[in-house]
């Protein structure tokens, strides 16, 4: 190609207090190319992106855009320079409409002093139609959208900006495979028109599929940039984790076992209906389906949050009414929710309280808090699950995403549940930690805990489950046992 690269990052460093988030990172992106960015949780990927888009300023090093120094002092400046960013934390304004979220910013279309709502709404509908092939109501409040719909709205927003450089920080964590496919096609088309991409993901298949080159960060350093042809899943995961990640295998179909959880004709208005299944001790049920298929609602209803409105649940053969989480906990059920920040973690608290929050009544001794037991249990869980934390007194927010997720899982493991419900248990977690969580679930099942897992990562679901329930439009579309369950069959059942 010749000439300077479109974007080049030269020796950029950034520290937050004592944390060295970036340590002399250099990399470059060509026009029309997709640079994959990989690395463990906390490796510095998002920090680098926030430097590129003017949220943070680098402590050292420089960034060149189109051969000229690029030092935006605010996101608005970065946007003016032709950079559009999809941020990992899905920053939306829930009480504004989809159209307003898509066009929010200094360049919002206006007529006179006011925003031009009509033009925005029209363009919003067009964008959804051409980009995603979907019809939407642009006036709908984002508050009423699912995680996937929010993610899509921000993607539409990013793609509508006519940017020269599009940065995507984990854009697909809530999306189902068909949506991801469609998006990737768009990314490729835009790339072929000369737009440069930076793409961050923990899903290695996606990285391999989309990227022209992949840069891997570890502890804030670039430990290698692989060009297309040089990378495969094994090599990549080794480079990311700094060690070989052994992917443990798919379990065979369930051995016959006594029934642990039985569900008959379960339904919830507006969510799902007519769901029945029977799970044995130590069995793992995977639940697959597209967004809006009712899979998450089904899992939540087993925990009473909110409860099912029809049907029957039996635990160990006993009909059990689960109207609220307390009922479920009493019946020996645990629940790892999909959004660990909004629904799981107590950000202002330390690790040991976060670990023990569901078992609080057991920590009262003569009316007072048993601090010793609190620490002992938390340390045991930390060791069992190899949670990386300075100590169990560290604030939970100082942990990496994967370790935060393990804290959440340990909260239920500490109670020795008979049934563990999980939704997207590895979302946003790096390869190494993802494997550790998979191992953890398998070990749990071996000990006799029955698991129900809903996930949009099919590989993972297939590796974990004895059986897969495929949901479509609120109903069970198909049940696939053992080797019957393959990626293609699941997608077929989910989409028809």
């Amino acid at each position: 190609m010749g000439g300077p690269p479109f974007l080049s990052v030269e020796g950029v460093s950034k520290s937050f207090g004592a944390t060295r988030a970036l340590d002399g990172v250099s990399l470059s992106v060509e026009r029309g190319a997709v640079l994959g960015l990989a690395g463990e949780n906390g490796a510095g990927k998002s920090t680098l992106i926030k430097i590129l888009c003017g949220v943070h300023r680098p402590d050292a090093g420089r960034v060149l855009l189109d051969g000229r120094p690029h030092q935006p002092r605010s996101p608005a400046e970065a946007e003016a320079a032709g950079i559009a960013v999809f941020h990992q934390e899905i920053p939306v304004c829930p009480d504004l409409s989809i159209a307003a979220n898509v066009f929010l910013g200094p360049r919002m279309p206006r007529r006179g002093l006011g925003p031009d709502w009509r033009a925005m709404e029209r363009r919003c509908v067009e964008l959804y139609r051409t980009l995603l092939g979907e019809e939407i109501d642009p006036r709908r409040l984002v508050r009423t959208c699912s995680a996937a719909e929010k993610q899509l709205a921000l993607l539409v927003r990013v793609l509508s900006r006519d940017a020269r450089l599009v940065i995507l920080d984990e854009p697909t964590t809530a999306l189902a495979p068909p949506e991801v496919e469609r998006l990737f096609a768009i990314f490729r088309r835009l790339a072929s028109q000369g737009i440069a991409f930076v793409f961050v993901s923990h899903m290695l298949e996606e990285l391999v599929q989309l990227s022209d080159a992949i840069a891997v960060l570890r502890d804030g350093r670039n430990v290698g940039t692989l060009a297309r042809g040089e990378f495969d899943l094994g090599r990549l995961s080794q480079l990311i984790a700094g060690r070989t990640v052994v992917q443990s295998g798919h379990r065979s179909a369930a051995e016959a076992a006594e029934a642990r959880l039985e569900v008959r004709d379960l339904g919830q208005r507006g969510g799902f209906e007519g769901v029945s299944f029977r799970l044995g001790k130590g069995e793992i049920l995977g639940i697959a389906g597209l967004q809006g298929s009712g899979r998450a609602a089904l899992v939540r209803s087993l925990f009473g949050a909110p409860p099912a409105t029809e049907g029957e649940i039996r635990v160990d053969g006993v009909p059990t009414r689960i109207a609220r989480p307390q009922d479920a906990i009493r019946a020996g059920i645990g629940f790892v929710p999909e959004d660990r920040h909004a629904l799981g973690l107590f950000d202002d608290m330390d690790v040991k309280l976060n670990v023990n929050m569901a078992g609080l009544p057991g920590f009262s001794r003569r009316g007072l808090l048993d601090a010793g037991k609190l620490r002992r249990v938390a340390e045991r869980m930390r060791d069992d699950l190899s949670i990386k934390a300075a100590s169990v007194d560290a604030p939970v927010r100082s942990l990496s995403g994967g370790n935060q997720q393990k804290v959440l899982i340990s909260r239920w493991l500490a109670l020795r549940p008979r049934i563990l419900l999980m939704v997207e248990p590895t979302r946003g977690v790096d390869v190494g930690a993802k494997q550790e969580i998979v191992d953890l679930v398998l070990a749990l099942a071996r000990d006799g805990c029955t698991c129900v897992i809903s996930s949009s990562e099919l590989e993972e679901l297939l590796r974990l489950s004895n059986r897969v329930l495929v949901m479509s439009r609120g109903r069970v579309a198909r049940e696939l046992a053992g080797a019957e369950a393959t990626k293609d069959r699941i997608i077929l059942a989910a989409t028809t």
């Binding site: 304004c93 829930p94 504004l96 925003p115 709908r140 009423t144």
Partner: protein, 327 residues
């Protein structure tokens, strides 16, 4: 588990039609008016209705600005203090030092804006919670008003200025404060609901980080809202001093909570990101009609405030019920 987690019909299209969002509070306002009209014949007279509107002018002007501020995610408890300082500055200059009232009023407004700026700078630079920050500036500003006025009320001579801001009656019936109220209301409405600045205000209060990442200068948005609130307090002070021909350094005590209450009755969310000028107008109106209605009924002095409290609670409940049902 949470109201937000309940299934909600998509009302998008409906919500955008102006006013329907404020349906609940409109119902509350009308019900209260109907109640009093039936019980006491004097309630539904034009004299009384204009009296209610006149009476709400100062509070309403401040409450509408406060709405913008709350929507942007902040509070200003110092509005009463600013109101007092603006009045006292004008009063000391015009009433005691014989400065031309127009210059004095200009000085009063400038003082109000400076105090608003101080609030904005304090909150922007230290990032401390605006509730506590303006609680302290409230006390400081009140002290300023006390010192400047030497604790004494200040009276004015009659002047064209007074007519213009507080005393004239348009077409012989419409008190001029009501006109100012309406003008400020239209201005606020346009600003919050019909300009891109308004969208920025909503976005800032809704999710500050998201707004920042979208390129909105949220600190500037909040500062502007503080300035507008101060401006409203200054304007209200001019109307009050014109109408009464007196300023007192203690005037506007408790105004801050009433302004917040009016906004919340009108559907403004204390957590920011949700609110409407029309709603706040109706909220102010409800508070005033209850007060007046109770007086017309001859309610015992000791329980008047209690009834006002009761009605505030009922109005908020009605509004919350009607809005969640519709969302």
């Amino acid at each position: 588990m949470d109201a937000a987690a309940r299934p909600k019909k998509r009302l998008g299209a409906v919500a955008r039609i102006f006013g329907l969002r404020d349906f609940g509070v409109l119902v509350a306002a009308v019900l209260i008016a109907a109640f009093f009209s039936v019980i006491t014949p004097t309630f539904l007279t034009s004299y009384n209705l204009f009296n209610i509107l006149r009476q709400t002018a100062e509070l309403g002007i401040i409450a509408m600005a406060m709405t913008m501020l709350i929507v942007a995610g902040e509070f200003d408890l110092s509005v009463g203090g600013i109101y007092a300082v603006a009045g006292v500055v004008t009063g000391v200059l015009a009433g005691r030092h014989d400065v031309n009232i127009w210059w004095a009023a200009l000085a009063g407004m400038t003082a109000a804006l400076l105090l608003g700026l101080l609030n904005a700078v304090l909150i922007a630079s230290t990032r401390i919670n605006s509730f506590i920050a303006t609680l302290s500036t409230m006390m400081v500003y009140r002290g300023v008003a006390m010192v400047l006025s030497e604790g004494q009320p200040i009276s004015f001579r009659l002047d064209f200025f007074m007519d213009l801001f507080g005393r004239a009656e348009l077409f012989g019936v419409l008190p001029v404060p009501v006109v100012w109220f309406a003008a400020w209301g239209v201005l606020s409405y346009v600003l919050l609901h019909r300009t891109t600045f308004g969208v920025r205000v909503f976005a800032t209060g809704d999710n500050r980080e998201a707004a920042e990442l979208a390129g909105i200068k949220t600190t500037r948005v909040k500062a502007t809202a503080f300035l507008l609130t101060a401006l409203a307090s200054g304007l209200a002070a001019l109307i009050s001093l014109s109408f009464l021909r007196t300023v007192t350094p203690t005037q506007g005590t408790g105004l801050e909570l009433e302004a917040i209450a009016a906004a919340v009755i009108g559907g403004t969310a204390m957590s920011g990101g949700v609110g409407s000028i029309l709603g706040t107008f109706l909220g102010t109106f409800i508070m005033a009609e209850v007060r007046t209605g109770l007086v017309l009924l001859g309610t015992d002095a000791y329980v008047q405030d209690a009834f006002v409290g009761l009605v505030i609670a009922l109005a908020v409940i009605v509004n919350v019920r009607l809005s969640t049902r519709r969302r």
